[in-house]
Symmetry: C3
Subunit: 451 residues, 3 copies
């Protein structure tokens, strides 16, 4: 009891400190950009991204919706951590949004030592939140809220740094975040998970595989992904005239990946009962693969093929790669972010690289100016652009691996300092989930024992 009370006070103390810190930092640095009054700054970047007031807000809401809803349900996905994980993910979201405004502001918006925020910076903060939630998905159930907060505290600046390097320095075109969101988030989380590995955990993880998870969440989550990711992926598309391609491509790839899931899933899994969870994975995978290539694909069938491949890749890797990851590499992946975000993100990067190499002015027309500005103004050849896209992948993987390793090591020290509280907290979480009736996994087991 004493340790649990201590743990609770630690958490609430940390939250208090972080909230106070952000308030002070906001009071010192953050102001509303005078342009925010007409929703678009005069600097070219924003005016590019956000040409009309009427567009800015809905986009912001959708991106926001997707970040919360999609991932909230993605995390709520585990049986044992179902509802409990939503509280945790909301904690992470609430902190990350404030922290990302500050971290990204340092790179992007700083003028006369002030950070000017607008609807656009909110969208960027939501992108960051999405990456953090992906990383959380890899370690969920094996870290306590304090560790999740510290992980977010360290990952947000790294994300902003990586995004800045790719977008502003390397000039990589990655509007949907195949690299910045999916690949970075997945591999950061995986390296953290690797660093946190402890032998005695393997047995608990088996239990997790048993429960099927509250499929109500899976259903709602899948449908919400179908609906709102297109607008999320196109939230930062350079120009309206480019939006349809990103949206339609993503839409086609969603349809193809969903249909394709019914191809491989019955073959890979004995029971042959297709879990809605697999459909959600396929949906996420197709969005990850379309992140970079979404606005570059000029033909619908390309989107169909990409979605088809993404779902197959995700299914195969979850069937064959995950066990290896767990046994050999000692890396647990609670939500399977490697299959759903990591590999499809890399596949999407390769696809984007290919399309960048093949990009020609007559196919893209004035769209070239929007997707590859550096190519359009002749300062780069398409081949060079493709090289930079690949280079972005390398940078992302490096930053994710290094940052994740360090973060994991740090969290591990904290773990060693307080294992009891951690287990206490988790058992509390379990008990909570058991008490409210939402832990279907448990209830169904009990049903079986009864029947």
């Amino acid at each position: 009891m004493a340790e649990r009370a201590a743990a609770r006070l630690h958490l609430s103390g940390l939250c208090f400190f972080l909230q106070l810190l952000t308030i002070v930092l906001f009071a010192t640095f953050v102001r509303y950009s005078p342009e925010s009054s007409n929703l678009c700054s005069t600097e070219p970047r924003c005016s590019q991204r956000d040409p009309s007031p009427t567009l800015g807000y809905p986009r912001f809401r959708d991106a926001h919706l997707r970040a919360l809803l999609g991932f909230g349900f993605l995390l709520a996905f585990l049986s044992r951590y179902g509802v409990g994980s939503v509280a945790g993910s909301l904690l992470i979201v609430a902190f990350t949004i404030q922290w990302a405004i500050l971290a990204q502001g340092l790179f992007y918006f700083s003028q006369n030592s002030k950070i000017y925020v607008s609807t656009q910076s909110m969208v960027s903060a939501d992108f960051c939140t999405a990456a953090i939630l992906i990383s959380t998905g890899a370690v969920l159930g094996r870290v306590n809220p304090i560790q999740m907060l510290l992980m977010a505290l360290l990952e947000v600046p790294l994300f902003a740094c990586n995004e800045y390097i790719l977008r502003s320095i390397l000039g990589v075109s990655d509007s949907g975040g195949s690299l910045t969101i999916h690949t970075f988030g997945a591999y950061f989380g995986l390296t953290v998970s690797r660093a946190l590995h402890q032998p005695h955990e393997d047995k608990r993880k088996e239990q997790q595989d048993v429960g099927h998870g509250p499929d109500v969440f899976a259903v709602v989550g899948t449908i919400c992904l179908w609906i709102f990711w297109p607008s999320f992926a196109s939230a930062t598309t350079a120009h309206d005239s480019a939006e349809p391609w990103a949206v339609l491509n993503l839409y086609f790839s969603l349809a193809a990946s969903t249909l394709a899931t019914f191809i491989l899933s019955p073959i890979l899994y004995e029971e042959g009962t297709l879990q809605v969870a697999q459909l959600q994975d396929a949906t996420l995978a197709s969005t990850a693969v379309m992140g970079m290539a979404g606005e570059m694909l000029s033909t619908p069938f390309g989107a169909l093929t990409a979605g088809f491949l993404a779902s197959q890749l995700s299914l195969l890797s979850s069937r064959f790669l995950s066990p290896i990851l767990r046994s050999r590499l000692k890396t647990e992946d609670t939500c399977g972010v490697h299959n759903v975000h990591g590999l499809p993100g890399i596949l999407g990067t390769f696809l984007g690289t290919l399309l960048a190499a093949l990009a020609t002015a007559d196919v893209f027309g004035d769209r070239l100016q929007l997707v590859f500005p550096l190519v359009a103004d002749g300062s780069r050849t398409t081949a060079e652009q493709a090289q930079w896209q690949l280079c972005g992948l390398v940078v992302t993987l490096l930053l994710a691996a290094l940052g994740g390793g360090l973060t994991g090591a740090l969290l591990r020290t904290k773990v060693l300092r307080s294992p009891p509280e951690r287990n206490e907290l988790e058992s509390k979480a379990l008990r909570e989930v058991d008490e409210d009736g939402c832990d279907h996994g448990t209830s169904s087991e009990e049903r079986r024992t009864i029947a």
Copy 2:
């Protein structure tokens, strides 16, 4: 086991073939319309429908949302097929969207033997998906996924054909789809269900009546219908200036039908406990009745009255007509699409016909040009327009009955070829639903047996 494995392989093989087919067809025929870059083609039709980039996309998303969410939950409605039906309906949606782009493209968008797709064609594809899902609702639980796919394969071209005849040849004004979506989908599904009738099925259907269904889905589904159908119904409204009427009328009719459900439901049903399911039915019925008349009604109280009548009609028919349908006509109607989509759709058509006959230039103003272009340019009298509206009903019913009969006969032969796999699959589905904790019907029964 052998049969089940065979069934699984059949399904995955069919999915593989269909996906490959659509990819090949897309590669051959489908291109992004050059106009799609600014979201609006120069051809009058699209520029009418889709005047501004900012509008096109949200509309598309809402229509899309409604098609998926509304019907996903409508199907998820049955207790026994709850979560399982979502996987099925997503399979249908994923395939129908691709297939509808092709089928409708043949009628609408073909220029120099290419199909040019834009956001607008996505909305049309979603309309088609809605109709297919309505038909699926009639046969749900009595067909296996393979049959559902084949049904969609055959129904989509028929839907596109019917839509083309009504819109382009007969010049019927049916923006919300009272005829093209609700009436066609319902009666197509019912004739298929009639053709699939087999004596030994009656007993299983009783079981279905027992369970109350996961009302969580009913609740979310109802609320989502309330919210998003208005934008769905007005997604193809000819012009912005006409949108408010369609939206507001639908909104008023929703309010009236929901309130009216509390009038008749306690009288018709002994228990007197109003199921949320009935509210969902009333919501759907009022949207079906507003499909055609939505943009023609010039007075709010007309919308209130229509919604009032629609919900009463749907309740009465589900109470008195469905049993007759089942016993006499040997037509099962798993989700009650006849009460919720069929009859209200016909009622909406009659209402639309009446309003078309009464349409006068001084009431409609320049709106007349948008709702009844042929009347506005004097090539038709309002009386003729009314006749054509009725004629559209006849055509729709004929096509639905003929196509449904043929499809049902075809599916039946397949059924006869493989009854075991079908039952196997269904029992699998049941078992799946039992295993994840979402089959509330079962769990509650078990609770009762326990308590």
Copy 3:
């Protein structure tokens, strides 16, 4: 059985009468405003609020969405009345929307004895619906549907009257409804609840505290509040250029209040398990506090601080004030609307008053014209504006208390006339909830008894 049958007939009779009444009144008075065809009237007020067709509709949908979804789930929150309360709240929503159009029309839109409705009047009706649902939350589970309908019947005109006095007479700036929606709705409901107090009810209420409620609803409700309240709060913001502040401020306060909940909740509650319900309360509280101040705050850190304080206030009051309210003041508060809407609404009013007093032209710029038109055109000093804002609080509290007292007295007479039917109905509701598997509270208890 006889009483229950009588009760059912009473309800359906009342619904029939009310629906007929509204239809007749609509037929007599309500017309579509000729301007609604281009979605914006020529009168300055509307053209201010709704400058472009493209904006009007999404705003309307979001406000609408929020009113339904947020509160639908807020009410669905109680364990025992989970799904049952949704049917009740939909009944209230369906009636209130029609009734509010009439009641507000009398004050706002009446020209030549007609009420002209447009999308804008729909948003106003949704605001009214939100207030009614808040009041319902205070008495939920202790009134039968008939009493809920009568309460709405009486509250709607009072709400319209209060809104008219504040907006048009006192010139109070309260775009997000801290006063008109939250404070009025909460204290109206509380006085009704006080008037309905009966000794023998206390014991049942303990039972309610036991169940944790279907957290699925809490989760979905919380996330939906996060997403859609911003657009709801800014639905009537005077001008687009003012929208970002309202939206961004609300967004920041949401993040802060959610994070702050993790500070106090573990300290206040022994178990230390943070219920998602508390996060939903914090979300609602932060929206209530931002209602008036949302578009006045010119610095993000102000929004963070306000959200921080709101969640702390709501948590403290639910921990310490609610018991006093129940024991001393004999006022039950089923959904805790006093902690979530009442006090934060008042806090928001004070904040708004402070900001109005401090408002200066150089900070607000041309925004001053939109937020404080009377100050901008020099007919008021900021100090006077602040006084009027406070005065609005007094008026709202007076109207809410008086109206609530009278309504409660009236309902009480009805209660006395028919206690049996009430209990019958409630027990019916309970049984319904037990039968479909959604009453997690009960099921979990049973599980415990089993395990």
